[in-house]
């Protein structure tokens, strides 16, 4: 018979009768599956006593699975506002005038402290005091995350508490704090760790107060002090302080994008620099915005060096990592045998890394700037961006090719501040082949395809800054060719050929490659339904999915009963596959630039064969709009009776549009949308 585990918990009535039980948030987990919250009182060799609100339980150790004990934290004895002895808080509450706001919460006070200790340890602390002003803000205000690299630092939550409108103070419980790896698998790249917390009692009217801190143990050229702060909160901040403290003449410097000068103070041989930013407005919701660091106040706290020194330090590690072993040497020989041209060899090596080394893990600034030895990467068969690029670099060097490793700042993170050399600004590795082709050995990306265009980076071989190219619109073009025949009954037969180039091709390749033939059919049916809900797929093909160097294209053949609407003697239809929306230019004005990331082109040619005898009585006028950022032209031609030809060409010439020129962009997008809403009207005889 199965053994039943009795719930051998003894309620000690005498102890339970006490009027006041010490309040605590210790948690006891019993083997029965039950858990209790209270205070651990005593553990002996075989028993355990635990006080709960209902009395003290005593049990055998063998009945207990475990215990959680909260960490003592600053101010944990405070029960009401009267108990507070923190001068900052006291002053804040004395002078606090609660803001009238439509924000979800308001940051009353945010303080970033960066402290370089005499022994070389680097400490950073962030304290946030926040007022919850709306129901919809209480969770976002109270649930917070703090990240650190576990191999060289340790972080902690110093305190987290809330002050309710009636003056009660609630402290965080240990169970509402979690420490987890941000990239838990593969474990080889798992050292970015996060602490997640949930501050209790977050309600409208509450003030939340929490502080995290990290001690960084190693601070050398390859594990730099480098912290960035962008004032990009969606909610307003009344006071934000950035404070740097270090021994006088210390190495830490601060870049402030606003040019704001700090207050300087010297105390006991230590230099203290303080920036105070008052009344920072909330970030607006806008579409197609660039990285916030590029247009909002942005600070970098780092050991400023020169780019040559940074490159030299990295190069030393890279040189070690690329030392060829037997495996690497043999691989290069086999991949390049019978190839003579350097580009042929580079392509072969690139293709090996792109196809054979599985892409995993975090970006390099979330892991390490020290590359894993190329031989190890080959053995593993998986790698993060830096290790993939380093491997490619090692293979190319071994093959005698001219190559350079360039560390860039990816486009999503914003632009490099070239005047403030610091390794922490760089977060992606590319290989530069013969000083002309940048290679990003990501999965399913063709040789030379580059997502991070016009991005600045550091050449490790020269120690100089370089910029990746901005491709032409045609290199990033999507070209559509459509032939359609309209029937008297309004039905449409259509063949559409679409070809993608550059990044679009890479995106489609990544998307289509894992699909089975049956899933490709589903995809084709979906694409057909975008042309018209009644579209019936007759045939389809997808091309260029597998070969790395081929651009992706597809062909659809569809028939669409009732495509044109019969209204009396008229047939009314819209250009098939031409649908532009003005949604993204709905806003009257903009505070931030429009960023399309790269140049691009959308080219469409359509031949529409009309039903016999139908008279074309209306079609839209040609459109041509251009400005320094974009070009759009659409034209109709009737080469012969019964045929209408339409061509359209939209080109992004400059990806970035400053806010003051938003009206020009708006006019162009509206013009495109207007055209796609214009009907073609035929009169039937």
């Amino acid at each position: 018979m199965r053994r039943l585990v009795p719930l051998a918990i003894l309620l000690l009535a005498a102890m339970g009768c006490r009027q006041a039980v010490r309040t605590s948030h210790d948690v006891i987990y019993l083997l029965s599956g039950e858990e209790k919250i209270g205070a651990l009182e005593r553990i002996t060799a075989d028993s355990l006593w635990f006080a709960t609100e209902e009395g003290t339980i005593a049990c055998a150790k063998s009945e207990v699975r475990g215990l959680d004990l909260p960490q003592p934290r600053q101010g944990e004895g405070w029960k009401t506002l009267k108990d507070i002895d923190d001068p900052l808080l006291k002053e804040l509450f004395t002078n606090l005038t609660l803001p009238q706001t439509d924000a979800r919460y308001v940051n009353l006070y945010v303080e970033h402290n960066f402290i370089l200790h005499e022994d070389g340890r680097f400490e950073k602390r962030m304290r946030v005091i926040r007022y919850v002003s709306a129901e919809s803000g209480k969770g976002t205000a109270a649930n917070n995350t703090w990240s650190y690299l576990a191999d060289r630092s340790y972080a902690r939550l110093d305190f987290a508490r809330s002050y309710s409108p009636d003056g009660a103070v609630s402290h965080i419980t240990e169970s509402a704090i979690n420490r987890a790896s941000s990239y838990p698998a593969p474990a080889e790249y798992s050292n970015l760790t996060e602490i997640r917390i949930a501050v209790p009692e977050s309600r409208v009217g509450s003030v939340l107060d929490f502080q995290f801190s990290t001690i960084q143990n190693v601070a050398d050229s390859i594990h730099p002090i480098s912290e960035e702060i962008v004032l990009a909160d969606r909610q307003p901040t009344m006071t934000e302080i950035i404070r740097v403290e270090q021994p006088q003449g210390g190495p830490v410097e601060v870049y402030a994008s606003t040019g704001q000068k700090p207050e300087r103070e010297t105390r006991k041989g230590r230099e203290i620099l303080t920036w105070t930013i008052q009344n920072q407005p909330p970030m607006r919701f806008e579409l197609m915005i660039p990285p916030s660091a590029d247009y909002l106040p942005h600070f970098i706290v780092a050991e400023k060096k020169d780019w040559h020194c940074i490159a030299a330090a990295l190069r030393a590690h890279l040189d070690k990592a690329i030392q060829p072993g037997e495996r690497l040497t043999a691989l290069v020989d086999s991949l390049t045998q019978n190839l003579t041209a350097s580009e042929e060899k580079a392509r072969a090596l690139y293709e090996f890394v792109a196809v054979s080394i599985h892409s995993v893990g975090p970006p390099l600034d979330s892991y390490s700037y020290v590359p894993t030895p190329a031989e190890t990467v080959l053995v593993r068969g998986f790698a993060n961006n830096l290790d993939r690029a380093s491997l490619l670099y090692a293979l190319m060097k071994q093959a005698g090719l001219e190559a350079d490793l360039v560390l860039i700042r990816d486009r999503a993170s914003g632009q490099v501040v070239p005047t403030f050399p610091t390794l922490g600004q760089l977060n992606k590795a590319l290989v530069l082949f013969e000083d002309r082709i940048y290679l990003d050995p990501s999965s399913n990306v063709a040789f030379g395809t580059l997502s991070d265009q016009d991005a600045m980076g550091l050449s490790l071989s020269s120690g100089k800054l370089k910029k990746t190219p901005l491709h032409t619109p045609n290199e990033e073009a999507t070209v559509t060719r459509t032939e359609a025949q309209l029937g008297t009954d309004g039905s449409l037969n259509l063949r559409m050929d679409v070809e993608f180039n550059g990044q679009n091709s890479a995106w489609w390749k990544r998307y289509l490659k894992p699909l089975s033939p049956a899933e490709l059919r589903q995809e084709a049916e979906e694409l057909a339904s975008y042309i018209h809900p009644n579209a019936r797929l007759q045939d389809f093909s997808f091309n260029g999915i597998e070969p790395l160097d081929e651009e992706v294209s597809y062909t659809l053949k569809v028939s669409i009963p009732g495509y044109a609407t019969r209204a009396g003697d008229y047939l009314i239809l819209y250009l098939p596959g031409v649908e532009h929306s003005a949604y993204q230019v709905g806003a009257t004005d903009r505070a931030y630039p429009v960023d399309r990331v790269t140049r691009s082109a959308d080219i469409l040619n359509l031949d529409l064969e009309l039903p016999p005898g139908a008279e074309l009585i209306y079609y839209p006028q040609d459109v041509s709009i251009s400005n320094p950022y974009d070009f759009y032209a659409a034209a109709f031609v009737q080469p012969r009776r019964g045929v209408l030809q339409f061509s359209e060409n939209m080109q992004v010439l400059k990806p970035w549009i400053p806010p003051q020129d938003y009206p020009k962009y708006k006019e162009l997008v509206q013009g495109m949308a207007r055209l796609s809403q214009e009907p073609i009207v035929l009169k039937l005889r």
Binding site: S62, Q71, R104, N143, A176, L287, S516, E519, Q522, G586
Partner: protein, 695 residues
């Protein structure tokens, strides 16, 4: 030759007094563990209490099943792979061996062991090389028997045990605090064409409840399964009930045998074709072949266990009574009382999930604790909600549900652990109904008596009343959007629209959440500008406003007015006019596929109604109005009509009603056709003859 078997144990508790984890991240094992009120005394050191984060005590530990999986013969496996590849040439990966074994012991501890061999045939399937298995210290442990990569040429790369790590995974999406960890490793050198093979065992020495044993196993996936087997090994006298679902005739071989006091049940499927996933399908368990098994004859044991935890947590403390009294003071009816508590709970207890043990796992925390902290998850809130309602004199219970987008439909004949969610059932004199006070981390916005659509049409387990019942799907009118458009066109073809919308049910909840999230007027205005611009590039927002956005107890309504220049398209003497917005709202992306093999699933029912009037200039003569339409199939109906009224006014009214949540594949073609007919109908314009010819 038989290869060596590595054995790696994630965390051995056997033979230790305890494992102590400190707040600075360090941990150690100790034979001595005492506490004197200030210090924790161990065989390593005496540690101030403040430095200790967690203590996990020694348990009896688990046993291996004694049937440790050994690896297949390499050449046999390669041969199997070659045959499979030939048989399934389009496969992106093939599961060659999929062999699971559940073992239940006399003492209620149990093991799950699994042996897998997978042929990688595409880049996307290389992720199979990463192994993860969940465990919780003090509850279970993971043993890896072996893991290896087999190259097409027969070369074998064995797992380096030093690469096996313990990691704490993050939980994305919801605010979750738990104690689970992973044993994880990634096999090296994995390339397309390789076979990844491993075997491991998860030993549950401290299961949630030693009385309950259940198992489930799928025999089809999105890659071919060559050999798929489930073995369940239980004591001979153990009650076992099992069922196979969605299994075609002849697919599954079953045998049962008694051996040395053990009852062994075995199911085998071979050479199973992959299924092709379809978007908007119900959870895979609703349509893929699988076996479910339980040792519970009925729900009594489950009800007893759940109810005991719940009763412990649903104590009405003075604070809870006082809160219930204050919330219901001044209201007269039971419905008003329930609504007052429903709103308070949604808005004052924010969503956070903390799970430490079986009891918090299934029944959350005590109502008083959730109230004190101001946060809790679905279970915590359902417990507190029921407790507050009881304090207010209303009968209410927490009930467990499996949300309809995530959990396969429960078979009530198969009692066991069920659900991923907890809500509340309320009982009045003549009726009972369900409410879900969970909301989100940033508040809940359901207007009484509506509740989360993910709970509609699924089973609810009420252990207080000892019942398992289905939650009805509301009528379309209870999940309805209604749009009123008051429009006028002037002589120049400019359209002016006064729009007002009204909402019921889950859509209202979502919209209220959305507009509360975009709390700042500046951001709201931009959103409205974008909305009207998507109607037409020449649309300009005039004004907007809300009714009852903040007042959760009253119906939400949006008011927008906008103007569109050159809205009317003139083709000769004919003016072409479409009703704005209506056609887009009645376009149905979910029916893009011509056919479906699996049901099309929605969260709930849906109703959409338009009431529109369009005033034309006096001298414009309507020449063509789309004909009236009435369409109906069992799953959906639609009717629409245009009428001419005095004052050169055109009136349009329609009603779309979909009472069904699930569309079966056999009914899908007619369902699709009907939806597309609605969309096509709205591509028909109003044609108007304009006095004086072309504009």
């Amino acid at each position: 030759m038989k290869r060596w078997i590595i054995s790696w144990i994630a965390f051995v508790t056997v033979g230790l007094a305890a494992r102590v984890q400190l707040h600075d991240g360090k941990s150690f094992d100790t034979q001595i563990l005492e506490y004197d009120g200030s210090n924790v005394i161990t065989d390593q050191d005496t540690i101030p209490r403040g430095e200790v984060k967690e203590i996990v005590f020694e348990t009896e530990g688990g046993q291996e099943t004694g049937t440790v999986r050994t690896d297949e013969n390499v050449q046999e496996l390669l041969k199997k792979a070659a045959e499979a590849k030939k048989r399934f040439p389009d496969a992106k990966g093939i599961l060659l061996i999929d062999d699971g074994r559940n073992t239940l012991r006399e003492d209620g501890t149990r093991n799950y062991s699994y042996h897998m061999a997978y042929l990688i045939l595409s880049e996307g399937r290389k992720g199979v090389a990463t192994f993860r298995s969940y465990f919780k210290e003090g509850d279970n442990e993971v043993k890896i028997h072996f893991a290896r990569v087999i190259k097409p040429d027969g070369r074998v790369i064995n797992l380096d045990s030093s690469t096996v790590k313990i990691e704490t995974p993050p939980r994305r999406g919801i605010v979750f605090f738990g104690k689970g960890k992973w044993v994880t490793f990634t096999l090296p050198e994995v390339q397309i064409g390789d076979i990844v093979e491993y075997s491991y065992e998860n030993i549950r020495f401290n299961p949630w409840n030693k009385e309950f044993f259940d198992a489930g196993y799928f025999f089809q996936g999105d890659e071919p399964f060559i050999y798929s087997r489930l073995v369940v090994d239980v004591p001979e006298d153990e009650f076992i009930k099992w069922k196979a679902y969605n299994v075609p005739n002849g697919m599954l071989d079953f045998k049962e045998e008694i051996k040395e006091g053990r009852r062994i049940l075995t199911w085998v499927a071979e050479n199973t074709e992959p299924y092709v996933a379809e978007p908007n399908s119900p959870p895979a368990g609703d349509f893929l072949p699988h076996v479910e098994l339980t040792n519970q004859e009925n729900w009594d044991g489950i009800h007893d266990w759940y109810a005991a935890f719940q009763n412990e947590r649903m104590k009405i403390t003075p604070k809870i009574q006082a809160l219930a009294d204050s919330l219901t003071a001044g209201v007269n009816t039971d419905h008003e009382k329930i609504a007052a508590i429903y709103y308070w709970l949604q808005q004052n207890i924010r969503y956070i999930s903390i799970k430490g043990s079986a009891s918090s796992g299934v029944s959350g925390h005590p109502a008083r604790f959730t109230l004190e902290q101001g946060f809790g998850d679905c279970t915590d809130k359902a417990i507190l909600f029921a407790t507050l309602l009881r304090a207010a004199g209303i009968d209410a219970d927490p009930v467990y549900v499996g949300t309809n987008g995530n959990v396969p439909m429960l078979d009530p004949e198969m009692p066991g652990y069920y659900g991923n969610h907890c809500i509340t059932q309320v009982f009045l004199a003549d009726t009972s109904f369900y409410l879900d006070a969970t909301g989100s981390s940033n508040g809940g916005y359901s207007r009484y008596p509506s509740f989360n659509a993910a709970d509609h049409g699924v089973y609810a387990v009420n252990s207080q009343k000892r019942k398992v019942e289905i939650i009805p799907v509301p009528e379309p009118g209870q999940e309805q959007r209604e749009y009123h458009l008051d429009m006028e066109i002037d002589e120049e073809g400019t359209l002016t629209v006064k729009y007002q919308s009204f909402y019921e049910g889950d859509y209202e909840t979502g919209l209220r959440y959305f507009w509360n999230y975009f709390s700042r007027e500046e951001d709201r205005r931009t959103r409205f500008e974008q909305m009207v611009k998507s109607t037409s590039p020449d649309a300009e927002l005039i004004d907007y406003g809300f009714e009852n956005l903040e007042d959760i107890g009253r119906q939400l309504s949006l008011k927008i007015s906008y103007k569109v220049k050159d809205y009317v398209k003139f083709a000769g003497p004919v003016a072409i006019i479409y009703l704005p917005e209506v056609g887009k709202r009645l376009t149905f992306d979910e029916v893009a596929f011509e056919n479906r093999n699996f049901p099309l699933s929605y969260y709930t029912s849906e109703g959409i109604r338009h009431v529109a009037t369009l005033k034309l200039p006096e001298d414009w003569k309507p020449d063509y109005l789309p004909e009236d339409i009435t369409l109906a199939v069992p799953e959906v109906s639609y009717r629409a009509e245009y009428t001419r009224e005095e004052g050169n006014l055109i009136r349009f009214e329609d009603f779309f009603a979909r009472p069904e949540r699930i569309i079966q594949p056999k009914n899908y073609p007619q369902y699709r056709e009907l939806l597309n007919s609605i969309t096509s109908y709205h591509k028909k314009p109003i044609l108007v003859l304009v006095e004086g010819g072309e504009k």
